[in-house]
Amino acid sequence: MITDNRRTFSKLLVIAVAMFGFGFALVPFYKKICEVTGINDLQKADVVENTQVDTSRTLVLELDANTRNELPWKFRAMESSVRVHPGQLVQVMFEVRNDSDAAVTGQAIPSYGPQVAGQYFRKLDCFCFSTQELKAREVRRMPVVFVIHPDLPKDVNTVTLSYTFFRVEGTRTGAVPTAGRPPV
């Protein structure tokens, strides 16, 4: 019976250790699922079908820029707000300046107000699609090109597009940031 018990013990211990590993295996698994299904993928340009510009509606698009994690950067939108029509191809510019004497890499993460507006943004190009490495004292102007889909709910008249730059730690440069709502 003692050997039986030892054998059962070993088998059960293997399950426990394997499940500890499984917990960590969920990390790449999760990333893969998000990648395959396109959920949460902030770094891919959207495909824009030809939409009619709805000139009957005018939206106020407010632009907002922030930095986090003691990132020594000055980050601002070139205009604080623009007026756009749904379906219209829009380009807005942001400017970022590295105030430190060393090269720093950052990644911008978008967020939308109201949150529901996020899924109507179709971005053709964005500086948030990749990490940005700024040399010491470098200044860079970067565009965002997008269309706001005309299906945007009628009660939304003001949309805020906000970017926050996070410092990317040296070890994980080029990592895929996945945060916030799926922008679709």
Binding site: M1, T8, L12, M19, F20, L26, I39, V168, P177
Partner: protein, 528 residues
């Protein structure tokens, strides 16, 4: 069935027991360890209960009276952690230690020294949790789920909680390995798997669940720890991680965990109801299969805790239907208990009162669970008091009432004395009434939109909150009756016969005297 013959065993093995503290520190006897588990969990139940009273005292009136909001968050968090990991889970392990060897006719647990170790891991873990109130920044206030990113940012109280969870997890895993090995290898001759008492069956399945998911929780909190101190970015969006990932990993553990806390309760109730209805369980094998189905389904429903994280509709539908599916085996169980009572010659001693009470109130909790499973409803009710009401109906009225039922049921076997029926019944009625005063009104609060984990609320919630707070203090005080009943029973009382319950037919009643001798079933009984 054989006549009671336990007495002759008791004397054969009376070689030098250490006495005093050393006895308890070094004991490898399943009964001693079971007793320690039960007292430990009772101490944690009282501690966690005091924290709950702190919460209810603050919520007695709108506005901030007693605590700073940060401290309020610490109260809710630590109440949850202590009750889940300190009170409910160890209490069931205590029952397993006492009862499984007695019910399957084994002399002790398979790994007696490891059994001692898995118990003695718990007090240091509890100490870490409690000490975390004293460190700078206080205990963790991230909620018992310890969601990132909040849990990545908080002070060292969070680290203490992480270590406590690691230790308790290790203890649970060792306990489960012990239980499974005991059940699989040490059953008395003739006791096939399908002849095992249901309490043993439910624990076998629970132990497998524990082995499967406690390591995943250990992994989740390890990731939190490395995110906090070692520069990894599992959950840190700034470094390429994702806080939603934490929720997935946590609830992969967390949902089976809720069944870990309820399946042994099903087992206890399945022993008690047939005993007091004086009828065998209506459908034994369907109960076994229902338990197994619940356990398997519990692995594919975790994301119903995350309906508001922006999941695609396909995901929401899958998790909604899978969750509703669990109502089927659970329904099998509830109907089984009802059918067992049907036309039985029932008497309502305290264990039966708690079991029938369990059946009523747990079923209500089950139904609110079904309502919460519906995605659009859940999105409305997420993080409101409706959810608080739901899980207290299944955890307090489910797990805790079953634990009370089991305690009264087996106290005569454990102590050799009958408990005071008057105190028991008083405990039941006070608990039942105050429980409902506390938690029933929370359904209304939640439906009206009162969010959980907030120390203040708007005026329209004032009346129901006052009622709930009064109920909570009443419920807390009622537990002193339980303490009194247990202490009185240990100290003396009417001597219990070997089988004080007419309808109980498991080995501990039919083959052992009361109290069960220190060493029992040295020669295994033969089960026909």
């Amino acid at each position: 069935m054989e006549a009671v013959h336990g007495h002759d065993h008791a004397h054969d093995h009376d070689h030098h027991h250490p006495t005093g503290v050393t006895r308890w520190l070094t004991t490898t006897n399943h009964k001693d360890i079971g007793t320690m588990y039960l007292w430990f969990s009772f101490a944690m139940f009282i501690s966690g209960g005091l924290l709950a009273l702190g919460i209810r005292a603050e919520l007695f009136q709108p506005g901030l009276q007693l605590w700073r909001p940060e401290f309020f968050n610490q109260l809710t968090t630590m109440h949850g952690l202590m009750m889940v990991f300190g009170a409910i889970m160890p209490a069931f392990v205590g029952f397993a230690n006492w009862q499984i060897p007695l019910m399957i006719g084994a002399s002790d647990m398979a790994f007696a020294r490891m059994n001692n170790f898995s118990f003695w891991l718990l007090p240091p873990a509890a100490l870490l949790l409690m000490a975390s109130f004293l460190v700078p920044g206080g205990a963790t206030g991230a909620g018992w789920t310890l969601y990132a990113p909040l849990s990545v940012q908080q002070g060292m109280g969070m680290d203490l909680a992480i270590f406590a969870i690691h230790i308790m997890g290790a203890s649970s895993i060792m306990g489960s390995i012990n239980i499974i090995t005991t059940i699989l290898n040490m059953r008395a001759p003739g006791m096939t798997l399908m002849k095992m008492p249901l309490f043993v069956w439910t624990w076998l399945i629970t132990a497998y669940l524990l082995i499967a998911v406690m390591p995943v929780l250990a992994g989740a909190v390890t990731m939190l720890l490395t995110d906090r101190h070692f520069g990894t970015n599992f959950f840190n969006a700034a470094g390429g991680g994702d806080p939603v990932l934490y929720q997935h990993v946590f609830w992969f553990f967390g949902h089976p965990e809720v069944y870990i806390m309820i399946l042994p309760a099903f087992g206890i109730v399945s022993q008690i109801i047939p005993a007091f209805a004086r009828k065998p369980l209506f459908g034994y094998s369907s109960m076994v299969y229902a338990t197994a189905s619940i356990a398997i389904l519990s692995f594919i429903v975790w994301a119903h805790h995350m309906f508001v994280t922006g999941m695609p509709a396909a995901g929401q539908l899958f998790f909604m239907y899978a969750t509703m599916l669990i109502a089927v085996p659970t329904g099998v169980k509830v109907f089984n208990w009802v059918a067992t009572m049907w036309k039985g010659s029932m008497t309502f001693e305290t264990p039966m009162l708690f079991s029938v009470g369990f059946l009523f109130v747990f079923t209500m909790g089950g139904f609110t669970g079904l309502i919460l499973a519906v995605t659009p409803v859940d999105i409305q009710l997420q993080d409101t008091y409706y959810v608080v009401a739901h899980f207290h109906y299944v955890l307090v009225a489910g797990s805790l009432f079953a634990l009370f039922a089991g305690t009264y049921f087996w106290l005569p076997k454990w102590t050799g004395n009958m408990y005071s029926e008057t105190l028991g019944k008083l405990h039941f009625w006070c608990s039942m009434i105050f429980f409902n005063i506390t938690f029933f009104v929370m359904h209304f609060l939640g439906l009206a939109g009162m969010p959980r984990r907030i120390p203040d609320y708007s005026q329209q919630f004032a009346d129901f909150n006052m009622i709930a707070s009064i109920g909570a203090f009443g419920f807390g005080l009622s537990q002193l009756i339980f303490l009194a009943a247990v202490v009185k029973c240990i100290r003396g009382g009417e001597k219990a016969p070997a089988n004080p319950w007419e309808g109980a037919d498991t080995l501990e009643w039919t083959h052992l005297p009361s109290p069960a001798p220190y060493h029992s079933f040295e020669t295994p009984p033969v089960v026909k």
